[in-house]
Every structure is written in structure tokens, then in C-alpha cells.
């Protein structure tokens, strides 16, 4: 029957590749080396791209196209060799094509290709992020990859945006906007958008998506309709720039109206100014939108996974207040503050209960409104310590996943369930810390260490006290903005603002995010700025990243002289960001641990992942092939000073030239094998003592011997080259396998260690494995074990380090021979591990 299946599959199309079984070990080994060479070439191109796009080089599109062409060539060559090596058993080529075509599209300056007008967040594929915008995409990733609770919902795509603009003939009105369009022009455009007609299919699409949501969520459903612009929550936060419509009834009509309101907010004066600062001409940014089921919030807030002011990455900061989020993110309330030390588990360091005078509640007419918090609630922290720690644990996972500090919005539901509403990169200060402020400015002090430092720095100018948002229209260039509350409205004038000082405000407000992005020295929550500082008064502000601050009456020359030069980053150039974006599909490595099931073509998200996959599966192939070799290379018998004989097949340079068929340890030229042998023959490591075997051990041993023989393992065989070893050692009832490539290039190197079997009963055998796992973990191996099977591995180590580990592995093999029968108690595991590590054999 098995023969028949084999014959049939051989006739199927797509099976033209030579099966790896038909190639001998030497041929397979050459293919393996070719994969490594191609991979290295590809990796060095990736490294070069990263360097050239770091902001330290001026590059052009031609360079990117050329580098991408070379990269594609190297990966294609690797794939071709890999397919021959593995007999085409892995579906990695489609993954490569999919990712690479995304890179090509972006290089050609084209966007996404999807045709959908709405997409559910819960099943959003990772490579369609651009269609739903940054905010939606991050949220979907929280749910789909990290399995964290987010509200149910769907996205209205960038395609829908394009169609809306086209259907309502808005393109001309938008392109005719100048660089600094007049407020009247913008107001007219917003009005046209709010009155716009949905393009064909959008109305139906929204109605269908809302009906599905209603079916899942029930009649109490209300929606939050939020912006998710192209780059929003990506490199730049766009915090508070665009409209969010809350408390939207679950009808197609209401959601459609909210959708248009959000689109219109692209052309609000503040948002246009923000876009202009980021190099966008008005109208070039696309606006996908998110429609999410609202959580009935008892409390809400913001979590930072690092201290944005001091740059301390070991702490998590959570702000929270009663009710819905706006009171916190608009800076209207004085929230609770939780400071947590990162770790497993995280640890609560301090809780500061804020006044929380204001809270946001739902309002049928306004959507949401701020009211006074009931007295009895104010003094109570809005999160329990457990809830704060749960959030912190999630925060750590999110930061690890997105590879950087995060600004996360959260909400506590009616039944005490926490939800995440948003995650975006947090701007964190780092490095160049100027000397802390000292009151030597040569001017009288107005304030000292009052309030919260949002962004450190030094600034001086005339104070401009803002009482109403309409005052902003007259804001003079270079003035210091002084106000009672912080407000996202201030973004409109940020290009002219030299510093901001407010009476009330929070670290976690939208304005705070934007001030950090634009590096504007900002001091909030001083309680007294508007009463101490007069409109038009000349003042100097100095704040450091330890939260210390000084405000001087007058322009303090000595302080101003300490001001570091402004460092505008390349990231502020739109074209630079756009080009750099391609790296996301090239450089990050998501496939990290080959011992877990996620190591599959479907999980590859970047070209780097593809290369990693090719590397790991090539190693696997060569290990499997070497265990049942069809060896054509030269065969030698190696005798050692310990009672072991090994049959060697030399694949090239593994044995010193001019030796006969019988060789000794000295004549082994394979560096990795020589290191293992050195360990194996370390004086004292080889266990020779008589072992006390119980009757149960003996019975178990007989059965195990049969199993091992039936599995067809080859006794004491090694396939070697100068830089490679695949060694199988059978000692009585257990089997050791080491596969290692160990050359000058760390990127090529790996060590795979496998141990199976034993004579003693399963408890003792598993104790031996636990002891080995302890030792291997100490040396930095990743491992997994099941029953009496242990697999451990390391890779990408420098040659010297790897040789040290190979020698250790040799010692471990010698030391653990027959050790299982000696591990009578659970405590022995630790004891023997310590003895081994101490060299006390």
C-alpha cells in the first residue's frame, strides 16, 4: 500500500524536484552550503539597506531599486537550492512572493490593491495593514496575534476613502488647496464632505457590517467611529488631530454620518497644520476609519510602557480616571497614577490617587460630555492593584511585540473586564541629557519644580496667555503658550510655539504626545501658571528629564546659552518615511524560536523571516539526511581514548590529509567534531562507575532497546567537513545527536542537540533530561522536552563561543551516560547540574 501511494505521488504534477533521498550526503551538503552563502548575501544587503535608511545617508530611489533587485536575486537563488535540498516539501515560495510583491509595490510608489470597502478587524490578515490604517491595524494585531481583548468592530478601508473622494468629485477641490489654505476654504470643504454621498457599495457594506456587529453584540450596542489615517499611530501619533465620534447608534445611516464627520476632520485647521509639518500636502493622506463596539466604561485611561520624560524603560506608567477616556486624553482631569516596575511578574511601585474632579460620560445629544465626578468617587483609585498589574503585563507583551515603548489606551468595562482601545509608539527621550537646571539664570524665579514635565528642554519668549481657542488665531511666532488646560487645539499653532505651560494637564494627554513628537519644552499641571504669568511677560522655561523645572521672569541669558541645537530628524520628511516603510517588510525578524510550531511559511512576514525559515529547515534537512546517510564521501574509523568507535564520512576537509582508514582523535580536522571529542574525552567526565539498576530499570531498558532498534538509528556515525559535524552517538539505551555548522561567519552557525531514550524508568529518564535542560539553559540554549526526548539549540554565535559550547556538549554526553539510574530523588537534578557546571565530575 505504501509503495502504491509513493508511485502515485511521484506521478503528480509539481513533484518534479529531485527527492532529497535520491541525493547522497555530499550533494545535500553542498546544497546546504549554497543556501547559507545565498542567505548571507541577502542578509548583508538587508543590513546595508538598514544602514543607508538610518537617516545618516542621502539616498535616492535608484539605490533602493538596485538593492531590492539584488536582494530578490539572492533569496531566489537560496530558494532554488533550498527546494533541491528539501525536495520541495515546504510551501515557502508563495510566502516569499507575497512579501516581496508588497515591497515592489511600495517601491513603485503604489498603495494597496484590496477591493474591499469594509474589513472585520478580528480576521484582518497582517499584510493588509495599509488598507485599514495604522490605528486599526495595531488594534487588530493586539487581538489576532497577542490575543488581547479589544472591542469588536470593523474598518472602513482606504479604498472606500478613495471611492468617496472620487464619487463626490472632491479631488479637484482638494488638489487646489494651497500649502496653507485659508480657514474659509477648509470649512467649505469639510461641509461638502459631511454632506457627501456614499460611493456604490459603501452604504450596503457598512449596513452589513453593522448588522453583523449587532447580531454579535446585542441591542445595547453603541459604536465609536474613529480615524485611522495612513500613518496614524505609526511613526507619528496624530494624537487628537482627527475627530472621533462616540456613542453612535447601530444603524447604517448613523455610522455613515459619523464616517463623513471623521473624514471631514482631515481638513480641520489644526490637522492640516500637523500634516503640513510632517511633509504632507493637504489631501495626500488617506483616511481609513475604525468602527468599534463601545465598552460601557466605568474607568478609562492611558498606559505608557516607559517613562516618556526620564526615558526609564524599566517602568510602566498608568493614568486613569472614572468614566470614558476623553477626560484623560484631553488633559481635562487630574488622573490617578500607577507606577509599575517591569518584570515577570510586574511589581506595583506606587499609586498616586488623583483628584479626578472631571469625568467623561455618555450623552445622548453630544455623544460624550464632561461632568463633575461625584465626591465619593474622587478619593477612590479607579483601578485595583491587580487590574493595574494585569494591564502592565499586557503592556510588556505589546511592547515586546511592536519592538518599542507603547502608548496604550485602556478601558474598564461594567463587569470589571479590561479592554484595550489603542496602541501606538510612544516617543521616549533618550541619551543626550543636558545638565539639570540650577537656579543661576540671572533672573528672578517665578516657579520652581511645580507641575509635571511633559517634554524637557529650554525655551524663552513672550508669554501668550490663551483664554479661548479663538485667541490662537493671533498667536505670535516664538511665544510661550500659557493656558489653564492643555488642549489638542494647540497643535494648530505648534510650529510657532517655543514652549507650553499650563495650570492643569496630564502626562498622557494628546497634546503631551504631540509636544514630545515635536520636541517642544512643555510643563503642565503647575496649578498657577495663568495666575503668575502675565500676558506679554518675557519668561524662560527650563525643564530636565528628572521632572525638575524652573520658570524665570525675563529672558535668562545663561540658561538660553545652555540650549542644545535643534535636531530635526529625517523622520519628519514624508518621502523619507515612505521609503523607510519598505524596511518593515524586509528587516524585522518575527520567527525567532524554531522549536515552536509557529515556525511556518504562513508566519513569515518579512524577507528576513523567509531567510530564517530557509536556514532552519535546511539544517533540519541535513540532520535528517545525515542520520540515514547514503554516503559517497571517504569513510574512516575513528577510535578514541574512551570506549567509543565512530564511523566518519568526510564531506570535505574533515580529516587531516594522508591518513589511512583508521584514524585517531588528533587526525580529526573538523573543528566542531574536534571540540566535541575534546569534551567527550575530558578527564573524569566519562561516567564509568557501576550503576545500581533496579529490576524496573532493567525491564524498561529491554523494552527501550527494542524501540530504538526498530527506529533504525545508525550507531556512532558522523558526517563531517572542516566546519560541519553531524554526529550520532548511541550509548546502550539512549541516543545523542549533535548537528553543528561552525565557521568564521556567525550568521551561518548553529548547534542542534538532541537526546532520546535511556534504560531507567521514565521518571529517572525525565530527571536526566531536566538536569540537562538546566545545564543547557545556563549556556543559553533554547530547549524543549517531551517524555524522554530533549531538543536544544543555539544559533548565530561566533565561532569561538560555539566551539566552547560544542566542547561542553561533549562533556555533557560523557557525563550523562548512565546518569539516569543515579537520579533517585528530584533533588538530585539540581545537585548534578551544579556539579557538572562546576566541573566536579
Amino acid at each position: 500500500m505504501r509503495e502504491l501511494i509513493k508511485k502515485i505521488t511521484a506521478l503528480l504534477p509539481g513533484r518534479a524536484e529531485p527527492s532529497p533521498q535520491r541525493l547522497d550526503l555530499k550533494e545535500l551538503f553542498h546544497l546546504f552550503q549554497a543556501v547559507l552563502t545565498n542567505n548571507n548575501q541577502a542578509l548583508s544587503i538587508i543590513t546595508d539597506l538598514g544602514e543607508k535608511l538610518s537617516g545618516n545617508y542621502i539616498f535616492d530611489t535608484k539605490y533602493l531599486q538596485e538593492a531590492h533587485r539584488e536582494l530578490t536575486g539572492a533569496i531566489e537563488a537560496s530558494l532554488a537550492n533550498f527546494t533541491l535540498l528539501t525536495g520541495g516539501q515546504y510551501q515557502i515560495a508563495p510566502a516569499f512572493t507575497r512579501i516581496n510583491s508588497l515591497v515592489s509595490l511600495m517601491l513603485a510608489g503604489q498603495g494597496e490593491a484590496g477591493a474591499e470597502l469594509t474589513l472585520p478587524l478580528a480576521r484582518l490578515p497582517w499584510d493588509r495593514g495599509r488598507e485599514v490604517g495604522g490605528k486599526n491595524f495595531h488594534l487588530a494585531e493586539l487581538k489576532n496575534t497577542l490575543n488581547l481583548p479589544i472591542p469588536d468592530g470593523f474598518a472602513i478601508t482606504s479604498r472606500a476613502f478613495d471611492e468617496f473622494i472620487r464619487h463626490n468629485h472632491l479631488q479637484e477641490a482638494i488638489t487646489s488647496l494651497g500649502d496653507s489654505p485659508a480657514e474659509g476654504e477648509l470649512a467649505a470643504l469639510r461641509q461638502t464632505i459631511r454632506a457627501g454621498e456614499p460611493p456604490p457599495g459603501l452604504k450596503e457594506g457598512i449596513e452589513r457590517a453593522v448588522a453583523e456587529l449587532l447580531a454579535r453584540q446585542g441591542r445595547k450596542l453603541r459604536l465609536a467611529v474613529r480615524s485611522s489615517a495612513e500613518e496614524e499611530d505609526d511613526l507619528f501619533s496624530f494624537a487628537g488631530q482627527f475627530e472621533t465620534v462616540l456613542n453612535v447608534p447601530p444603524t447604517g445611516e448613523a455610522v455613515g454620518a459619523a464616517y463623513r464627520t471623521v473624514l471631514a476632520s482631515l481638513f480641520a485647521p489644526g490637522a492640516v497644520e500637523y500634516q503640513r509639518r510632517l511633509g504632507y500636502r493637504p489631501g495626500t493622506i488617506k483616511m481609513p476609519v475604525g468602527c468599534l463596539a463601545m465598552i460601557e466604561a466605568t474607568a478609562s485611561g492611558v498606559m505608557y510602557t516607559a517613562d516618556p520624560v526620564s526615558g526609564d524603560r524599566e517602568q510602566i506608567i498608568i493614568n486613569g480616571a472614572w468614566g470614558y477616556g476623553p477626560s484623560v486624553v484631553d488633559g481635562a482631569t487630574d488622573p490617578d497614577l500607577y507606577r509599575i516596575a517591569k518584570g515577570e511578574p510586574p511589581r506595583l511601585l506606587a499609586t498616586t490617587c488623583g483628584q479626578k474632579r472631571i469625568m467623561s460620560v455618555l450623552d445622548p445629544a453630544l455623544g460624550i460630555k464632561n461632568v463633575a465626578t461625584p465626591e465619593e468617587q474622587r478619593a477612590r483609585p479607579c483601578l485595583s492593584p491587580e487590574q493595574a498589574l494585569t494591564l502592565a503585563g499586557w503592556g510588556q507583551a505589546i511592547e515586546a511585540y511592536f519592538k518599542g515603548p507603547q502608548d496604550v489606551e485602556w478601558s474598564l468595562g461594567q463587569k470589571g473586564r479590561l479592554h484595550l482601545l489603542q496602541a501606538r509608539p510612544l516617543t521616549v527621550e533618550g541619551g543626550e541629557t543636558p545638565a539639570g537646571p540650577a537656579p543661576d539664570g540671572g533672573c528672578p524665579l517665578l516657579m520652581r519644580d511645580t507641575g509635571l514635565v511633559v517634554r524637557r528642554g529650554i525655551a524663552a519668549g513672550k508669554a501668550f496667555v490663551v483664554r479661548h481657542s479663538s485667541d490662537l488665531d493671533a498667536f505670535p511666532k516664538g511665544a510661550v503658550l500659557v493656558a489653564e488646560h492643555d488642549s489638542p487645539q494647540f497643535v494648530r499653532v505648534l510650529p510657532y510655539v517655543s514652549a507650553i505651560i499650563t495650570d492643569i494637564g496630564a502626562l498622557a494627554s494628546h497634546m503631551a504626545s504631540v509636544c514630545r513628537e515635536f520636541k517642544i519644552p512643555t510643563l503642565v499641571n503647575t496649578g498657577q501658571a495663568t495666575s503668575l504669568i502675565r500676558h506679554g511677560q518675557e519668561i524662560t522655561l527650563e525643564c530636565d528629564d528628572e521632572g525638575k523645572s524652573l520658570v524665570y521672569d525675563g529672558l535668562a541669558p545663561e540658561v538660553i546659552a545652555r540650549r542644545p541645537p535643534s535636531g530635526a530628524g529625517m523622520e519628519e520628511l514624508f518621502e523619507f518615511r515612505r521609503k523607510k516603510y519598505i524596511l518593515r517588510y524586509i528587516s524585522p525578524l518575527n520567527l525567532v524560536n524554531p522549536l515552536v510550531e509557529e515556525f511556518s511559511p504562513e508566519r513569515c512576514r518579512t524577507l528576513h523571516d523567509v531567510l530564517r525559515f530557509l536556514h532552519e529547515k535546511s539544517i533540519q534537512q541535513i540532520i535528517d539526511s545525515a542520520r540515514a546517510p547514503k554516503a559517497k564521501g571517504q569513510v574512516f574509523q575513528l577510535a578514541l581514548t574512551v570506549p567509543v568507535t565512530i564511523r566518519l564520512v568526510d564531506l570535505g576537509g574533515g580529516v587531516a590529509a594522508g591518513t589511512g582508514p583508521k584514524i585517531d582523535q588528533e587526525q580529526v580536522a573538523s573543528r566542531p567534531l574536534a571540540a566535541i571529542l575534546k569534551g567527550l574525552t575530558t578527564p573524569g567526565a566519562w561516567r564509568t562507575g557501576q550503576v545500581a539498576m533496579s529490576a524496573r530499570d532493567l525491564l524498561s531498558g529491554i523494552a527501550r532497546a527494542q524501540e530504538l532498534t526498530a527506529s533504525g538509528g545508525v550507531d556512532n556515525f558522523a558526517g563531517i567537513s572542516r566546519d560541519y559535524v553531524n554526529l550520532g552517538l548511541r550509548f546502550g539505551y539512549h541516543f545523542n545527536l549533535i548537528d553543528s555548522y561552525c565557521c568564521e561567519q556567525a550568521a551561518n552557525n548553529h548547534l542542534y542537540f538532541r537526546f532520546v531514550g535511556g534504560a531507567a524508568d521514565l521518571t529517572k529518564r525525565s530527571r536526566r533530561l531536566q538536569m540537562m535542560e538546566l545545564v543547557l539553559a545556563e549556556y543559553g540554549f533554547m530547549s524543549k522536552s517531551k517524555g524522554d526526548l530533549l531538543i536544544a539549540r543555539v544559533s548565530h554565535l561566533e565561532q569561538d563561543e560555539l566551539l566552547r559550547l560544542l566542547e561542553m556538549a561533549g562533556r555533557l554526553i560523557a557525563f550523562t551516560r548512565q546518569l539516569d539510574a543515579e537520579l533517585v530523588n528530584q533533588e538530585d537534578i539540581d545537585l548534578y547540574a551544579k556539579r557538572f557546571l562546576a566541573g566536579d565530575f
Binding site: N56, I58, F59, D60, K62, Y63, A568, M570, L573, F576
Partner: protein, 121 residues
């Protein structure tokens, strides 16, 4: 008074990146997407340094170099190009180009070269 630098490259991102980095060091920077536009501006305003791409449609980098050397001999010219061919480099050197960089250009090196050209060490 700060020194003035003109950047000429037919791709916008090159000029933008150069402008951003040089302005940080206090230079006054203007960018142009073609040799024609750049030469027109040169007839109105004196620049201390001209950084030009080599291969451009119409008036190319070599022509910019020759024109500058002929009419504004005190202006320093630095050439950048994706095609770092030796023969072109030699030709440019013969025409008194101050420096020659293949793209991608390391910003630090470009700045050093400009400082040297202006006698700022």
C-alpha cells in the same frame, strides 16, 4: 553670516534630506530639481557651495560644474551621483570639482567636505 548651499538633484528626497541635515549646521540651503532652474537662480544669487547630481535630464551635473567654474569661480562644486564611474570622476576632477560622492552619500562625509571647502577645517 551663514554660508549658502545650493542642492541640485532631480529626485526631491535627495534635496530634502540634504537640506534638513545641512540646515541643522546653520547653512542656508536652497534645493532645485533641475540644472536649468539652478543656473537661473545662480544668476540672481551667489552661493558658497553647489552640491549637484551628475546625471540629470537637460543640463546635467558636468554642465552645471562648467558653468559655475566659468562664471562664479569662487563657488565650490561637489558632485554626487548614482553612477560612480571613474572616468566621469576624472573628467569632473579636471574641471575643478571639489569633491565627488557616490550615492548613497554619508551625510557626515558630505558635511566634512563642505566645511573643508569653506576653510572651516
Amino acid at each position: 553670516m551663514s554660508h549658502s548651499v545650493m542642492i541640485i538633484d532631480d529626485e526631491k528626497i535627495v534635496g530634502d534630506m540634504a537640506k534638513l541635515s545641512l540646515e541643522q549646521d546653520g547653512y542656508e540651503v536652497e534645493t532645485f530639481l533641475s540644472g536649468e532652474a539652478a543656473l537661473a537662480r545662480l544668476s540672481e544669487k551667489k552661493f558658497d557651495v553647489v552640491v549637484t547630481d551628475l546625471k540629470m535630464k537637460g543640463i546635467d551635473g558636468l554642465e552645471v560644474l562648467r558653468t559655475v567654474k566659468r562664471f562664479y569661480p569662487e563657488t565650490v562644486v561637489i558632485m554626487i551621483t548614482a553612477f560612480a564611474h571613474l572616468d566621469v570622476a576624472i573628467e569632473a576632477l579636471r574641471d575643478n570639482v571639489h569633491d565627488f560622492f557616490p550615492k548613497p552619500v554619508k551625510i557626515k562625509e558630505l558635511k566634512q567636505s563642505i566645511r573643508k571647502a569653506l576653510g572651516e577645517g
